[in-house]
Amino acid sequence: MSKLVYLVPLFPLMGFLINGLFRKNLSKSLTGIIGCGTVLASFIVSLLIFSETRKEGFETVVVKLFDFINADKLHIPFSFQVDQLSILFLLIITGVGFLIHVYSTSYMQDEEGEHFARYFSYLNLFIFSMLILVLGANYVIMFIGWEGVGLCSYLLIGYWFKNIDYDNAAKKAFVMNRIGDLGFLIALFWMINTYGSVNFAEVFAKAPGTAIPILTGITLLLFVGATGKSAQIPLYTWLPDAMAGPTPVSALIHAATMVTAGIYMIARSNILYTLAPITQTVVAVIGLATAFFAATIALKQNDIKKVLAYSTVSQLGYMFLGLGVGAYTGAVFHVMTHAFFKALLFLGAGSVIHALHEQDIRKMGGLKKFMPVTHFTFLLGCFAIAGIPPFSGFFSKDEILAAAYAKNPIYFVVGLITALMTAFYMFRLYATAFLGNFRGTSEQQHHLHESPSAITIPLIILAILAVVGGFAGIPDVFAKNAHLLHHFLSPVFEKSERLKPVIEQSNSLELTLMAVSVFVELIGMLYAWNRFSKDPELGEPQGFGTVLANKWYVDELYDTIIVRPINALGKFFNDVFEKSIVDGLVNGIGRTIQYGSRQLRLLQSGQVGAYVLMMVLGIVILFVIQIILKK
């Protein structure tokens, strides 16, 4: 079955082609069926492969489709790799992706048929690119998918391309990603130069013998790529702006695809990172800083999607912290649980937006009684992201925090403060939007309704996953050998773990850490719940709050130090260099030739005598030259 892995990306590709090419002829329902069906088919194939990988003695399978690049000694095959890590990501991408597709059929119902099909073809292309990224058996194939998701995010963020702001958001996402991709690309060339190959198997086998500076350089450059794709400092600003796209797209970008690419890439290259301790520290510090920084911004946002966007950035920071401290399983685990609860939260937010046509939480309130299913599932999602036991976020976040504590207690403390803020802003969002009294117009209240079943069913499924997803990784403290995910992924990470064993902590210490974090999260949650359900913060922020509400002015800072100087430079070249130098050169040549020919024309007098004179003079000159040369 593993040999048939190429079917997994093939289905979404076909869906993309059919929906894209025949978008003017297909009916909406047919488009929806093709869009969802192809992803469902991929999910089923993934499940079958998954059941095979779970058997004892499963070896990594590499399926070579054809030679991609053959140049001298460099051979890059187009091949897919099936192992525990890639199959786990396949399940997340196709599973969560399928639910988002189903949700979209209802959410995008108001679009015209042609644009509806365009939307679904982009979604399918997105899934296809992400599958290529995850399945590639070498860095080049991974890079193809890497670029593909960048392109698709651009297309989908700018889906409503008639709005100039949305276009700018799309461009911003694309440019930010390209900056990161450059790092990835340089790392690729360096890797080819060092190892002569980009195949995972060969690179990882040769990695232990590499000089540390080279390895550090390669891993740092790869990490630059990851900061772009996974929205870490300093390249994170595109992700909140990506909210310009339709809400299911946000869910897709934030949960199942795109932003997890960086995590996947580092988890895949875990051996390289384990061998480069400096890079690991950089990854951990950047991850932690991003987690903290984004959480502070989320405290003061009033747009329901912006809060969720910053929480994604923050949670991604956690994952990088996990990767940086060597808790690869923990990071992948958090990717999985995050995919569940973040997709749930985004789709819940989408359901609210669908009903209200409003994104500002200050104008919501009291949605609990109007939208019971959305409310309940959203609440479960909030519990999960806040890390309240026994919801899924608790297990994965706790695993990362425990590993961070073992590495450096400061990591743990900052992570804990971030967890407190996470609980606080999530329940601020929940309480402001769903509790209290409705603050919108009576017109909105009149139309307020629970969303149709195509929206609520994915919400319910995701809510179930968000609740029970954590049980895939029960820590040893509670039950011996119950961490199924760790057991499942161990073949992928075993080399790294042998090189740097995860420090086992005494049960009492681990329980204490857990208790502290749960306590802190409960405080944040209860405080926010209490405060905002009765007295939501409706006014404009004051004092330090304005700084947070304006996202620490990072966008303005980038605008000042990068965008404006480049624009000024471009203006200079356009106005001065282009007009006077380039144009002057081109026009000057033209003018010289015109002037010269006007002078030369005078020679053509029509006087036979003049011609003969010139002929004679020419012959005389030739004679003179001949005589000079002979000497």
Partner: protein
Amino acid sequence: MPINYYIFLAVALFCIGVAGVLTRRNAIIVFMCVELMLNAVNLLLVAFSKMHHLALAKNDLNAGINGQIFVFFIMVVAAAEVSVGLAIIVMMYRNTHSVDVNFLNRLKH
């Protein structure tokens, strides 16, 4: 007689011909000057041919007579040219009532 004298005479004739072509405006005189240049060349050809023949005559009685053959060719061509040229001049006189070559600059326009 040394070859030098022939060469000097030929060069002198040729230069007179060139000077005549350049300075005179009467088409018939220009024409005569062209003939002068042709004949200067003819003279040179004959002179060199004779010298050549004297140098090689011990081995081959026919050596070096090619130059003299050329002279006949040139004469024939010159005769043909004269007949065409004079015809043109006659036509020109009929049209313009003049044989001034400076009148013939209408190709410019």
